[in-house]
């Protein structure tokens, strides 16, 4: 009887990997540190997903249900891997709940951590109630409450979305582009304009990176159909005059300083490496790349390999990633596990 595959993390990539393995009848165990599956889209209450426009609770919820119903998948929630030893085909994983698992291989799907905006105090998060993050706006939309200023519940007349909060910023040691925030912000801007047609939305950017097909569907559409305004400016600071938030910066296209009043300021927060990555790296004996994400080895020879044979990785554990690509990588890692298992058997 062959041993199961250990999947660490029950977000989009972990759910995809588990589903792939289940379809060929390969047993697996998902170990999830939170109390339920779904990962960031579910736990952080995302609203409509890019690019399908489906609600996260339906789309990712469907993936969770599919995995929960699969007989070959066992799920352990509220637990982490605390010890790990062995060789491909013959690993032992110790869990924080005291259990021990004999597993054939591992897929690390531990995801990312949202950037904590208090680390950019000049942009007012934590100081002013009406400075919020994209995650909070997602929750306002997904909860059905609608986009409102947290301070007094009023409908904002003017919203500023600041891009690259926690991304592309050497000051705070985050040089990467978080890849998804431009598109997510365009999407949120359109949703705000849809819900509150009298509310003007301004996006302050350094570059717009709505890559690939997101260009027309988000960047162009937000301008052409929703009249969202894009201003090339990296904001210097967000303050308040007691009534409104004051956004200060330079409008680089007119070479003029600006101090514009806003009702609400939204930080498009980036994707940090999972805060647990140092622990995960040490426990599993796998390398991190220079930014702190899990390093992908042998990119052209295998799918989702790490520095340790038999341990694979998928999704935003490897760097900022879209939900779609995380899912693809989850499936790919399952494929790598299966081909690895076959090689072991024939050896």
């Amino acid at each position: 009887m062959s041993k199961p595959v250990l999947i660490i993390g029950g977000g989009p990539s972990g759910l995809a990997a588990a589903h792939s393995l289940a379809t060929v009848g390969k047993e697996c165990v998902i170990v999830e540190k939170e109390d339920r599956l779904g990962g960031a889209p579910i736990l952080s209450g995302y609203a409509k997903l890019v690019p399908t426009g489906e609600w996260a609770k339906d789309a990712i919820g469907g993936m969770v249900k599919r995995v929960e119903e699969a007989s070959s998948v066992s799920i352990v929630t509220g637990a982490t891997v605390t010890g790990f030893d062995g060789t491909p085909g013959d690993f032992t994983a110790e869990l924080s709940n005291g259990d021990s698992l004999e597993v054939e291989s591992v897929i690390v799907c531990s995801g990312f951590t949202h950037f904590d905006s208090v680390n950019k105090p000049e942009w007012g998060f934590g100081t002013y109630e009406d400075v919020v993050t994209t995650t909070q706006v997602e929750q306002m939309i997904s909860s059905g409450q609608g986009v409102r200023c947290p301070s007094d519940g009023r409908k904002p007349q003017r919203v500023a979305i600041l891009l690259c909060v926690g991304s592309r910023d050497r000051q705070i040691g985050r040089e990467w582009c978080s890849k998804i925030c431009c598109t997510v912000s365009s999407n949120i801007a359109m949703e705000i304009r849809e819900e509150l047609p009298d509310c003007h939305v301004y996006i302050y950017y350094m570059d717009i990176r709505t890559f690939g097909l997101y260009e027309t569907k988000y960047y162009w559409k937000s301008q052409e159909e929703f009249k969202v305004k894009y201003i090339k400016a990296r904001i210097a600071e967000v303050t308040s005059d007691g009534e409104k938030l004051i956004v200060k910066g330079e409008d680089t296209l007119v070479k003029r300083p600006i101090t514009i009043p806003f009702d609400m300021v939204v930080h498009a927060v980036g994707m940090d490496p999972n805060v647990d990555n140092p622990t995960i790296s040490q426990t599993l004996g796998i390398d991190l790349e220079s930014n702190g994400y899990i390093d992908v080895a042998n990119r052209y020879g295998s799918m989702g390999a790490t520095s340790r044979p038999g341990v694979f990785v998928a999704g935003s554990a490897t760097g900022p990633e879209t939900i779609d690509d995380s899912i693809t990588q989850g499936h790919a890692a399952a494929m790598a596990v299966l081909s690895g298992a076959k090689a072991l058997k024939s050896a």
């Binding site: 052409e224 296209l253 007119v254």
Partner: protein, 255 residues
Amino acid sequence: MPIHEKSLIRPENLTTHEELVLDGVDVSGHWSTFIETRVVKDYNEDMQDEIAALPGGEHIHRCWQCGSCTNACTVNALNPDFNPRYWIYLIRMGYESELLRDKDIIWQCVSCNKCTYACPRDVFPEGVMKATAHWLEKKGHTEKSPSTHFDEVFTEQIVSTGKIEESRTMRRFFSRTGQALAQPWMIEMVKRMLRGLPVGMLTRMGLATLIAPKTNDWSKASAAIQEYIDEQHDKQVQALSLAELVETAKQDVAA
């Protein structure tokens, strides 16, 4: 402190007071020149919608500031201050005071439409320039341009008769723009025409001057066109809040 580098500061941002005492300190005169802030304090969110309400301006919100229009521009090659990309941005973001600084050159667009073909997003910058020039006129920022006068004279004649009688158009255009009919080039043209003794043409011209030619059964078409023009006019008056503008002006005069 005197300001040495005044050339770097816009003249309108420099203020010198003849007599001013602040907190007991005399700050009058040249040695106490003040510099007004350059900081933009707000956006005029109506501006883009107002330009978009005028013919040609409909697609201004598509612009993403690539600069293809300015690059392609015939007038920009002659006058670097003529910058459609920049004006489109000012309108989109509502930097009204900035736009007004250039109000006397915006009308200079020659409608070559090179920008129209260069634009990757179908903004139709040429149309936007036209709409902007009209916006400036309608809002009272600029006088009616000669070309607007010409358009009006031309349109009025079409609506009333269904035909264009050139000499009438020219006479009205000259009178409205305060120009003498006896322009040197006009005199020269008439002289040369007369050399060939064009009896038939002169007769027709003379008759047309006396009795304005009219398209048969024109009244119905005329009424329909006029109705459409009025409709568009009313829409623009509303979109540009012109009635309110007039009201404010009246109150200012009364006060």
